[in-house]
Every structure is written in structure tokens, then in C-alpha cells.
Symmetry: C2
Subunit: 706 residues, 2 copies
């Protein structure tokens, strides 16, 4: 995964492999965490700013209890009570203490939490904490209750076990975030997500110290929040799928309890169909409008020349400003083609003479909106298209198009949030988001510019997810992004990240997230069988095509079943990730143990094939995976041949390698909107065989296609 | 599972086994469904009243569509739309039609639904339907919309696939229920169950044609529904966990959409702590009262001598009568010890001279309540304790204590519902509820008495479940009970039921029920590992101790973790059920294929052990299963020895069998609140070996302990 390099292996003959690889940079990044900590078995994520491991452990027993001192606020009591329940469930120990209150604790209290003040739920609040554990007890200290919540999550992640029992290792941790805005956006407009989806994802966010939940509440496919001033917005524009105000208050409270700010987005002036269904009179072209069932297509916009547009939006935003306590309202502002504006003579007339372009008209639209929203006591956030001359400096810019606009906005005095590179729906592996530093090492920015970069946000656009699959797109990748935004810049060893991510993935499942369990559900539905292990072996080495490829190939609508193998596959196929790591290690330092691991995996893939075929054959919905299953076996055999050559310590014949070219070509072809992800690693073995099994070949040039 | 016979195998020496078995009745029950239908692969449950299978199939293609004629009502359009989505997800085919409306359909419509009238959601409504499928199209005909809903569920269950595609077999089905009350009770008082738990269980109910959801809304541990007249009931008596009136209306609507009646229960006069927390002045003993965190214990009751009790309850029930549209209100009435009444001099004085016992006082209490509730336009239901002289004839009796009280109440003119034998929380295998006929063959009852037996209800008491585990207690066992209540009396072949139940279990998972997926979650949490197959092999042959044994051994509270191996294990361990069936078959008709299946299973258990031990050792929460793991291996080896003797066709030595006695004893001992469920089957092999491998030994005498 390291040392990404654009390579089109299918265009070059096998004998050029070696040349290619010699151009690949060796393992790239320095890693700031000492090896003993990496090997400690502490599966913390985000990794804290400072960690020191000591001898000893604090055993978890029935007497484990918690006391809180200072002015913690209710959040900390509730979080401490939840921690008790989670530790109980993991260990099976029924504690004497079940609820933490101001009266809890005694002489022997095992965990004491000191908090100076409850803290205010806002960007920039002190979120630091320190945690000291020895064999007698643990002490968590924080300036604010929000910091204490983070410390409790760290403690939860620290729980380990061996045959003698459950315990916390003795550590000193002192921790605080690198960035103050660590967000997750969920698009509830394209596919609506019910309350329990939002609540479980809030729990997941809190577990990895994310602090902003951004809800994309309106788009061409639906308007997802009840307005009491304009009830027609959901009556006509939601298909019955929206949050009532009672429900959104419940979400806000649920998030607040866990230290998370909810930022609502109402996308304007384009992406506006769901508003215009009930208010065609505010559109830039005549109606009627109907909710889109497809994605993409024309992007109708509000009429900026109509004074009624702003009277309407003014009343609407006043209502929302009082509903959402966060000081920010996101007004979207993206992807307005301006076509409707250009085609409307009244709007063209309105623009004369001062407004010289659609871009300028959009700026005026945003400025008017910003003025109203500011008057309601809120600041606006918008996608980077809103960054135009004249935009008021209080506006926060969310950059989806790249770091150039991020830095430009920051230089111009706007606070900014990075989203580019964090699009979860594009299904790039977790390592990609992980290495996407908002301010990479060596970036030259003035201190004032740097200060304006608040952080980043993982984005979950929902065209191709439904409640049963959305968690598997968000998690665990969002945890890697959370580490990027929280942890020190030099924490960036990818292999170690994946090792912890796999453990954290299980901890996230504890919280009710469905990314692991629902894969089994989909595979059982696809096969109509209980026994799905042979299919899981395949799914564990494939992932969906990346970027916008799947969207481009299918004719997707809001009704599409989204129950195929591409929906069961994930961005992080663990067997392929593990295989990559073994091959990387073997190519650098060939040793018998690693070779044995690689051989065992290759042999498993071959041995699995008959059972896999027996599952696939009677399930027409699975027939499209057949080429992948065949390629997996073919490449596994090639891998074993390569190892045989390597063992002989003589360069493998070029002719043999040439014969594999077609097999590699086939193996790289997508099928069922997925691709095999162990191809490059097998290719590395072939290259190594061609070089006579010499070590030090360097990490693979990984497939950068989709 | 057939031919249950009380046997205490551990008390008898091995050489007496043969004698025991000779006393066991041979396979017991006639089966009303012809073998060709049983072997057809149609996994229908409940099995319809009349089924005829034809040659041919209706292929499922992109052009599959639905039209509705007559006066179906909205329920049928919505259900048809949901069917499209489910067929899409199973097949991966994105249909041209996505929504069914009154305008849907054309010349070539694949499924036409004729409905004469929407129907009224009530007990006794016409629920019949007929379904005719040929290679061209399908026709579903029903008198009422409720019947049409059932027909759509049957159609959904009929979908099959082979390598050529997805299809419905050509059939003629004509179907109607045997009993009109087919219920599921969920106790949301002991452990509260959030909205999504209730909604997914409503979907499951509809899938197997259950039609009454009974919610146990109050008990000593919590009051679970908002009263606007007495908001203090939940403010003080729920721990914050209750349904708002908006939410309960949503549940009622959700159930109504699926043809399901919601019956609320407010348990009185005992089980009353959660009322008395806010209204101690209505109690029979001085307060204050606090919500119970434990189960059982004293059972405080309302004061029947206090006129304020009835003023309060009158206002409360008037509010609830208008909130719940069902014509029934359940007032509990169970388990009133009368102790508080006996100890209260004022109540004793009030009873003089006319009321001669606490039972008579309870009857007066219930009569007063019934009069008020009847005045509100509802009928009361109560547990069978309310059946006392003088009870008004409109009251429905729900029998939890046995069929005697069921028949007695029916003879006395009360309509009745059977719950005895359907307690899901006691974790008896599905076969037990399945064979628990409300009116077994040969029962002599007058026609008028018989007519008063409305049906039955599966009961899910929630002391030992939480939202993550409750589905695995309800499903799939409730589907077997649903078949008992719907299907003809002579549909009762247990092996065939289990075969279909296993398939239906997957279909229930499609609806979002978690009984399969959450087992993996629990096992991953217990082990802290992703790879749990070795542990699953063990879990698949154990089930929790039955009846009230677990409750008796543990000190359970509402805070107990409920995350142990006993929570992951289920009442229907499939590998054990399958093994039983193989052994039953082999003992009756020994053949090489079956022996090979049995041997392969025994060898798998032995081969699995090292990996299982490696999982268990580092997980202290699992250490208590070690004896089970050891016994599984020991018994597997004994089973293989028995087969070796059987192959030799000479009686095995008595001394060998005697040596196994201790192993069987150990294998029958519970561990970690679970028991091995393949012990009897291995014992059958030993008995067969002792008899020289003779066939015709008959079915096993199965373990009737817990």
C-alpha cells in the first residue's frame, strides 16, 4: 500500500517487470512510534500523542469501579456508566457497580476521573486528557468533560486479556488532538438512514474521537427534516422518509451526550429538487418538479432574482437556526451548473449590469444567505465553490476539490476543513485516507494560514448504500481518517495501522455497528445457504471498483437492490492486505516462516475453489464472480510456481513469466463491479523469481486503477 | 426429537440401555403432507392448508411486475411494493417496476392480485387466499386485503433458484388459518426494547402469518409507555426507557400496515412496582417504591380498598383505550401473592364481611377494572388467574398455566388463548412448541367450547435478553409455533419442520432480524478475534439450560452483561439437530451413506478441538466451556468406536460400554449455563453397538432434562 506509483502492468511484457520495480521508491515514511510500543498489543486508535508503557497491569475484577471528582457534567457520568456496561460485556464479569454518579467511589476505587469543568461543546474546546494506569488503579485527568470522554474511550481500547484474566496494561498517556475539526458527513438525502443507523454511527464516531457529525439533509432525491413552518417540504418532498423535529432533537442530544456537534447541511442553490417539488415557484425554470429516483442529471436551482426565494429561505433558516444548537449551518453551494440561470431571461435581466457571470450571481446568492444566517446567530459553511471574491470572512470553506482550494481559502482568511481524499463512498483502501494529511510534512504555510485549517471530514455519500450496507463503507476506514486528524503527524506506518484497524473494527462492532456482521447476511442471501465460508474466502481478497466506476457502469436508482457481491465486498479486504504484507516482507527479507505463510495462503485459495464453485453455480446472482474465482486459483498456482523458482535460487525462465501475462491481464479485469486485490503481490513474487529470488526488491508498486 | 420419554440415563448402567430403548415408542405421528411435497424444496412455513405442485415454473426476470384489482386497500399496495424490493435483493435483478399502485399493470403482468375488500384488522376477519402459479403468470386471490398479505408472504417464500435462474414453482395453493389468534408477546418491561427491535420483529411476524403483537408494557422493572395524563409514570418509573405516544402510534401503524393487531398489557394488581414509584399512595403497603433491578422477589400490589386506585386507573385506561385501536386491553392479573393485602389491616377491614379471600378480592378488583374498560369500548384479556366465579363472559383468558385452565375457561364461555408451552424464554427446542397443539388429536370438546379457543401466543419474557440477543430467542422457534397455529393439525413431521425452519431462518434474516448475525458478534466479542469458526462448531451443538435453570443459578439483574456463551447459544443447535436426524435414520435403517455422514461429523468435532482450545485459552470469559469441549471430543471418539463395533456386526463388549458411563455422565453436566445436545445420539450408537449393530432400534429417547 505504500509507495503508490502509477503503473499499467498490463501493457508491458513480463520481462520489463524487474526494470519497473527498480524505479519504485523504497518504503517511504518515517514512523514516529517506537517499535516496542508498536509490538505492545495496545490497539489504540487514534494513537495518543504520548504513550509510555510500564511493567505491570491493572486487573479487571468484579470490584472494578469508577469515581468522578471535580465538575465533570452529566456527559462524563453517563459515559462512565456506559464504559462499565461495555467492560462487563467484553469480560463477562458482572461488576458490583453498575451506575456512576456523583456519590460513587470509595477508598479502593479502581478508576478515578478528575475533571475541572464540564466543557462547552464547540470547535476549539480543550479536549486533552491524561491517563495513568498502574497495578493498583487508574487515574484519568482532564480539563474538560470532553477530554474525559476521550480518555474513557482510550481506556476501553486498552482492555486486554490472556489466560489469567482481563486487564489494563500499566501506561502513562498524555493526549490531545492535532486538529480540532474531525468530522463525518452522512448523506441522508440520496438514501435515507433511519434513527438507529445515525445513533450507532455516533457511537462509532465517539469511539475514535471524531467530534462533528455533518448531516446532508436535502438533495434532489429527498428532503429529510420536518419543517413546522413549511411542512410541505417533507409532505411532498421526502417520500415519507425524514426526521421529525422530535427525532432530530433526539439525534442532537444523543450526539451531544457523546461530545459530538451536529452540523446540518441544506444544499443550495442547486441540488434543490426536493425543495422545488413543493415550491416550484422558487425555481429558475418552470415546474412541476418530481423527486429524482436517479442520480446525477440536471441540477435545478433556486431563482436568485425572485425576492420570494429569500423571504422563504429566511424563514426556513430562522427555524433551523433555533432547532440546531451548533453555531454552524452548512449551505452546500456545490455543483451549480448555472444552466437554468442562463436559460431564464428574467434572471439574465436581473443580472444586468452589475452581475457579470453565473459565478458572481452564485456569490451574491450565498452572500444574501450568509447575511440572513449570520443574523440568526450562526456562521455558514459551504463547499469550496462558494469561495469567490466578496465572500464574508466568517464563512468556513469545506474543500472537496483538493488541497489547493483548502490552502487558498485559508490564506484568504477563511477557516477550512478538508474533505478531498476522505470520500468513503469511493471505496479507496483505508491507507489512502490515512496518508492524506491536511498539512503534509514539508508543506510551507504561514502560521496564520495553518491556524485556519481546522481539520478534515470523512464523507459518506449515499447513492450506493442502504441502511444494511452503509456501516461497511464508513467503518473501519473512518477510524484511520480519525487517526490522521487526531494523532501526531509522524504516526503513519501503514502496516501497523492496519493491524490496529483490524482490532478496532471488532471494538466498533461492540457498539452495534454492522460492518462485519452484515457481510455474512449479504452472502447468506446471495447463496441461500448458511455455510458461506468458501464465498467469504473470495470476498476477503476482492473489493469494489473504486472511484466513480461502479456508478458509471450501472443504471442505479434509489430502488436498486444494492445486495450484490460488490455490496458485500469492502474497501479493505483483509486477506489481501495480510497477503500484501507477507509478500512485502518476503521480498525484502526472504525467510522460511514468511514463505510458509504465503504458501499456506496460496494453497488455501486453490483448495477452496471446488466448494466455492458449488456455492456459486446454483446462485445466478453470483455468476458474475466466476472470472474472479478462476483468476484467484490461476494466480495462486502462479504464486506457488514463483516460490518454487525462488527456492531454486536461479532466475526463473522469461518464457514462463511471459506465459503468465494473459493470466495477470484477466486477473486485473473487474467482474461484478469488484476486483481481485492480491494480483500485485503475486506479480511481486514473479518478479522476484525472475531475479533469481534476490531479496531487497522493495515494496510493490500497487495497482492505482479502480 | 420425536417420542420424548422421561429417562434418567445417568442413573442406569450402560447394559440397561438396550432394555430402555425397547420400551420406547416408535416414531409417533402420522404426517398429513405427501412425501413428494415434502421433497419438493418448497420451504413454506406455515405450510398451507392445500398445496398442489405442477410441472413448470414462472421465471423471475427484469419484467416481473404486479397489478392489483378490486378494493385492496393501501396495505396490499405497500406489501406488494415491499415484495418487489425483497425479490430484487434476493435475485440481484433490478426490476422495471419498483412501486405498485392502482395504476400498475398491463397485458403481460406477471402477478395479478384480486382482492374483494380491504378487510378489517380484527380477530376473525377472513384471512384466506389462493395462489395459482403457472409458467406464464401468477394469480393471487383473496376476499380481504389481510388474506392477500398472507398470500404475498407465501409467494416470497416460494422463490427458488438453480443455475439457470430464479423462479417460482408452478403450484395451486389454497390456504386459511386453523386458529384466528396467532400471537407473539414481547416483554418490554424487564429489558426495554427500542423501536427497531419491535419493528423488525413485526416484519418477522408478518412473514410467518402471526397476527397479534402483545406488548407487556409494565412490570416491577419499568413502565414503558408515556401517559400524558400521568406523565410521572415514565418520568419516575422508566429509567428513561419508554415509548412516547408518538412512537407507540408509529408501532401501531407499522403493525397495522402488515396486518398485525397490537394488544397492550398493563399488569395489575401485582407486578406493579413501576406504577407505585410515582404513586405510592395507591399501594397496599407504605412506600417509597423503587424500580426493581432484580427479578422475582416480592410482588407489590395496588390497594383495592382505596377508591383513589380506581379513579386513577379509570383515567389511565381511558387514555390508553383511545391510544390503542385494538378492541382488547390486557390487564395481566397474574401472580398476585396477596401477601400485602393480608398484611394491611385496612384492606382486611374493607373485605369484611362479603369478600372471603384474597382470590375473591382480586376478582372484585378485576371486575371493577373490567367494568371501566368495557365502558371505554374495550374487552379485557387476562392471565388465567383472573378466571374466578363472577368474571364477566366477555373477558378473554390467556392460559399460561396449562391446557386444563384453557379448556375450563372455554367451557365456561370465555374465549381463550394458549400460552402454556409457548414460552420462548425457556429455550426448549422448536419441536416442543411445534408439537404443542392447543387442541391435540383426540381431544374431546363440545363444538361451542372448541369455538372459544381462539389460538395461541408465543411469549418472550425478557429477564435474560437484551436488544442484541432477543431475536435469537424468538426466532426461528416462533415460526414453528406460527405453523402450529396456522397449518392443518396433521402437519407435524418434526424432521421436515426443521428442514424448512432452517431455510425460513435465512428468509427471516432478510427482514433485518438478527438471530443469525448476532451470534457471530457475541463470539467475536468473547474471543476478541475475527476467526471464530472453531468456537462456532461447539456452539452449534450446545444450547442454554432450559426452563428456569439459568435464572435460578445466576444472580441476574437488569445490568447483567448477557454476553456469555449461553447468550450466543440457541434453543436449536443445528449441528446437533442434524446429527440427531442422521443417527435416527441410521439406527432405523443402517446404510453406508448415513454412516459416512455420521463419521465425518464425529471426525470434524475431534479435528476441531486444537483450534477451539487455542481460542478458549486466552479468553477467560470462555474458560467455563472447557468441560463441554472436552466432552465433545470424548463422545465423538466413543461414537466412532461404536460405529467400528457396528461395522463388525457383533455385539460390542458390555465392559466397553460400562467404561463410557462416566464420560456420558460428564457430557450431560451443564457448563457455562449450557449443555451439549448430541449426547443422546451418541448414546444411541452405543446401544446399537451393544445390540450387534441391529437395525430398527427406533428413535432415541431424548433427554428431557434442561
Amino acid at each position: 500500500m505504500i509507495g503508490r506509483l502509477h503503473k499499467v502492468a498490463k501493457l508491458i511484457p513480463a520481462f520489463a517487470f524487474a526494470l519497473m520495480l527498480s524505479l519504485t521508491a523504497a518504503s517511504a515514511f518515517a514512523d514516529g512510534v517506537p517499535a516496542p510500543l508498536q509490538q505492545s498489543g495496545m490497539n489504540l486508535m487514534p494513537w495518543p500523542a504520548h504513550v509510555r508503557l510500564h511493567e505491570g497491569r491493572l486487573a479487571l475484577t468484579k470490584q472494578f469501579d469508577i469515581a468522578v471528582t471535580g465538575q465533570p457534567g452529566q456527559r462524563v457520568y453517563d459515559a462512565a456508566t456506559r464504559l462499565l456496561q461495555r467492560l462487563q460485556r467484553r469480560s463477562g464479569i458482572d461488576f458490583d457497580q453498575h451506575v456512576v454518579t456523583a456519590n460513587s467511589g470509595g477508598e479502593q476505587t479502581k478508576l478515578v476521573i478528575h475533571v475541572r469543568r464540564p466543557g462547552v461543546l464547540k470547535i476549539g474546546e480543550d479536549e486533552s486528557y491524561s491517563l495513568r494506569i498502574d497495578s493498583g488503579h487508574a487515574v484519568l485527568t482532564a480539563e474538560s468533560g470532553l477530554g474525559a470522554l476521550h480518555g474513557l474511550q482510550t481506556l476501553r481500547q486498552l482492555l486486554q486479556s490472556d489466560s489469567s484474566g482481563y486487564y489494563f496494561p500499566a501506561v502513562d498517556i498524555s493526549d490531545k488532538p492535532r486538529f480540532e475539526w474531525r468530522g463525518l458527513m452522512i448523506d441522508v438525502a440520496r438514501h435515507f438512514e433511519p434513527m438507529d443507523v445515525i445513533e450507532r454511527n455516533i457511537r462509532g464516531m465517539a469511539a475514535v474521537k471524531l467530534n462533528v457529525l455533518h448531516l446532508h439533509l436535502s438533495d434532489n432525491q429527498g428532503f429529510r427534516i420536518q419543517s413546522k413552518v413549511f411542512p410541505e417540504l417533507t409532505e411532498l418532498g421526502s417520500g415519507g422518509q425524514y426526521y421529525t423535529q422530535t427525532q432530530i432533537k433526539q439525534i442532537i442530544q444523543y450526539a451531544d451526550d457523546r461530545g459530538i456537534i451536529v452540523v446540518p447541511e441544506f444544499d443550495l442553490p442547486a441540488h434543490a429538487v426536493s425543495w422545488l417539488v413543493s415550491h416550484p415557484e422558487l425555481a429558475s425554470a418552470p415546474g412541476p418538479y418530481h423527486l429524482y429516483t436517479r442520480f446525477g442529471g440536471k441540477n435545478p436551482a433556486f431563482d436568485p432574482s425572485n425576492p420570494e426565494t429569500f423571504r422563504f429561505l429566511g424563514r426556513f433558516f430562522k427555524e433551523m437556526a433555533s432547532l440546531f444548537p451548533a453555531p454552524y449551518i452548512h449551505i452546500g453551494g456545490d455543483e451549480n451548473s448555472g444552466r437554468q440561470w442562463s436559460n431564464n431571461p428574467a434572471i439574465q435581466a436581473y443580472m444586468q449590469p452589475a452581475i457579470t457571470s453565473n459565478a458572481a450571481l452564485q456569490t451574491q446568492f450565498i452572500q444574501k444567505l450568509a447575511a440572513m444566517i449570520t443574523a440568526d446567530g450562526k456562521q455558514i459553511i459551504g463547499w469550496d465553490e462558494i469561495l469567490q471574491p466578496g465572500l464574508e470572512k466568517g464563512a468556513i470553506i469545506q474543500s472537496w476539490r483538493g488541497k489547493d482550494s483548502l490552502y487558498q481559502a485559508a490564506r484568504e482568511g477563511h477557516r477550512t476543513v478538508l474533505s478531498n481524499g476522505y470520500y468513503l463512498d469511493l471505496l479507496y483502501p483505508a491507507a489512502d485516507g490515512y496518508l492524506n494529511d491536511p498539512i503534509p510534512p514539508g508543506t510551507h504555510l504561514k502560521r496564520s494560514t495553518r491556524r485556519n485549517i481546522l481539520g478534515g471530514e470523512a464523507e459518506m455519500w449515499s447513492e450506493l448504500v442502504r441502511p444494511a450496507t452503509i456501516d461497511s463503507r464508513i467503518w473501519p476506514s473512518a477510524a484511520a481518517i480519525a487517526e490522521r486528524l487526531w494523532s501526531p503527524q509522524d504516526v503513519r506506518d501503514v502496516a501497523w495501522m492496519y493491524k490496529r484497524l483490524r482490532a478496532v473494527n471488532l471494538q466498533l462492532e461492540e457498539l452495534g455497528l454492522t460492518q462485519i456482521r452484515n457481510q455474512g447476511v449479504l452472502l447468506r442471501q446471495l447463496t441461500g445457504r448458511h455455510e458461506i465460508e468458501p464465498l467469504r474466502v473470495l470476498v476477503d481478497v476482492i473489493s469494489p471498483v473504486r472511484g466513480y466506476q461502479r456508478m458509471a457502469t450501472g443504471h442505479y436508482t434509489i430502488y436498486s437492490p444494492l445486495a450484490s457481491i460488490a455490496d458485500a465486498a469492502t474497501a479493505n479486504p483483509w486477506a489481501a492486505i495480510q497477503f500484501d504484507e507477507w509478500v512485502d516482507r518476503f521480498v525484502e527479507h526472504p525467510d522460511a516462516d514468511t514463505e510458509q505463510q504465503i504458501r499456506a495462503q496460496l494453497e488455501q485459495w486453490i483448495a477452496n475453489d471446488p466448494a466455492l464453485e458449488a456455492l456459486v453455480e446454483p446462485s445466478p446472482a453470483l455468476h458474475r464472480v466466476k472470472p474472479l474465482a478462476q483468476s484467484l486459483v490461476t494466480l495462486a498456482k502462479i504464486g506457488l510456481q514463483a516460490l518454487d523458482y525462488i527456492d531454486q535460487k536461479q532466475p526463473a525462465p522469461q518464457a514462463w513469466a511471459r506465459q503468465t501475462t494473459t493470466d495477470f491481464l484477466q486477473a486485473r479485469a473487474p467482474a461484478a463491479a469488484t476486483k481481485l486485490r492480491m494480483v500485485d503481490a503475486v506479480e511481486q513474487l514473479v518478479v522476484m523469481a525472475l531475479k533469481g529470488g534476490q531479496a531487497g526488491g522493495s515494496h510493490a508498486a500497487r495497482d492505482e486503477e479502480n
